[in-house]
Amino acid sequence: MSTATTSTDETSRRDFLYISTGAVAAVGAVSVVWPLISQMSPDASTLALASTEVDVASIPVGQIVTVKWRGKPVFIRHRSPEEIKAAVDVDVGSLRDPQADSTRVQKPEWLIVIGICTHLGCIPLGKQGQYDGWFCPCHGSVYDTSGRIRQGPAPRNLDVPPYAFLTDTKVKIG
């Protein structure tokens, strides 16, 4: 009897040792993987990348200017009253990604959106398509004059970057 008990104790002691060794080794192996993954995230210099400041005074009404921010194109569109009206008059409920024009702009005459099609990342062409907004040549997404998706495969409206008007004509993007 007693020998049997001892050997059971012995076995469970062994098992405990094996399992804890294995568990600790596994924790070590997993922690080593983290730096290898984390190193691919944006580094400190990329994260610190400054914002872009743009002087919009020279953009005539009806023009779209493309500026670069964080390596991406940003469209700054000086909208005409007709374009603003077209954007405002839409029935928001009928849109795929319902957003009122007022929530997408700070000043109605200036539309600032990231120039990347929300479908698969191409750059849409300005003042083209049925709604005179943007038309993406890759897969035919059509945006209106508020940069909202109206037709085609894209799921969302063009994104609005964080920006602020420093003066009436100076915008800081980012």
């Binding site: 040792l17 060794t21 600790v24 080794a25 070590g28 400190a44 210099s45 610190a48 990348l49 400054a50």
Partner: protein, 278 residues
């Protein structure tokens, strides 16, 4: 006799050899021109050493007011706000950056223009290029961003072995700061500002850069040359090795982890081998 016991014999022989070489080193050293820097106390030395934030801020003040007139410091301004450094606040870093003028461009008209600095900018260089620096000063002053790691002095045998080991008086990694500290103390001839006791050959292009009381310390730290030398050497070591705090704190965890794992491995191995004569 086993491999291991022979190994102890070898260690004995090596120690004897070490003594002989050390003696001959001493003899050789006496003939050398410049003395070795002496080892100083640094807050960032040893396995648990960390940077002294206030000291780094003082050192930065010296760099800004004195060194930066001739020396480049090729690090981004934002790093002064990083943890484990001088840790300036976000606003202080922004204000500091804005106090510099940075060339940027070209703008839409194709022209380069000046703008206030941003935290992501590097510290501006005092000269447009090394050639201009050499033309103005006779010799291009070295970039200071890695200076504290790029300077060393010969430790000789066997001291250099102990410098690597976790023993009292070992783990000596601060040869660079000690060298910088020594250089700042080495201007011993009043009639020759370019004579330095610790510089190889004694003729140093940089004239005595710091004198007592030259830089104000708002925190009331004594404005002695010795304090200046320590502060600026600490700052430069931080500039060269900004991740030291993080490295050592992670290192402590790693070592504890490995010690635990080694013990577990040892007992597991012993249990597995317990029924095998070997």
């Amino acid at each position: 006799m086993t491999f291991a016991s022979s190994f102890t014999k070898i260690v004995g022989a090596a120690t004897a050899l070490a003594a002989v070489v050390a003696l001959s080193n001493l003899a050789a050293r006496a003939e050398e021109e410049q003395p070795n820097p002496t080892r100083q106390e640094w807050s960032f030395a040893g396995p648990f050493g960390t940077y002294d934030k206030a000291q780094l801020q003082r050192g930065f003040k010296i760099y800004k007011e004195v060194c930066s007139n001739c020396h480049e410091l090729h690090i981004p301004i934002r790093t002064l706000g990083q943890p484990g450094g001088p840790e300036l606040s976000v606003d202080e870093v922004k204000a500091l950056a804005a106090s510099y003028t940075v060339k940027d461009g070209p703008n839409a008209a194709g022209e380069m223009f000046d703008r206030p600095g941003r935290p992501s900018d590097y510290f501006p260089t005092p000269f447009p290029n090394p050639e201009a620096a050499a033309a103005a000063l006779g010799n291009a002053p070295p970039d200071m961003s890695l200076l504290a790691k790029a300077r060393k002095y010969e430790r000789g045998f066997p001291a250099f072995v102990f410098d690597a080991l976790p023993i009292p008086g070992g783990m000596y990694q601060e040869l660079g700061p000690d060298y910088i500290y020594a250089i700042l103390h080495g201007y011993e001839k009043d009639d020759d500002p370019n004579w330095n006791a610790y510089f190889p050959g004694h003729k140093i292009a940089m004239g005595k850069p710091l004198v007592e009381g030259q830089v104000d310390y708002p925190d009331g730290t004594p404005t002695t040359l010795d304090q200046y030398a320590k502060d600026v050497a600490s700052f430069l070591y931080w500039a060269a090795e900004p991740t030291l705090d993080q490295r050592k704190s992670i290192g402590a965890k790693v070592m504890i982890f490995l010690l635990i794992l080694s013990c577990l491995m040892y007992f597991t191995k012993r249990t597995i081998w317990s029924d095998v004569a070997h």
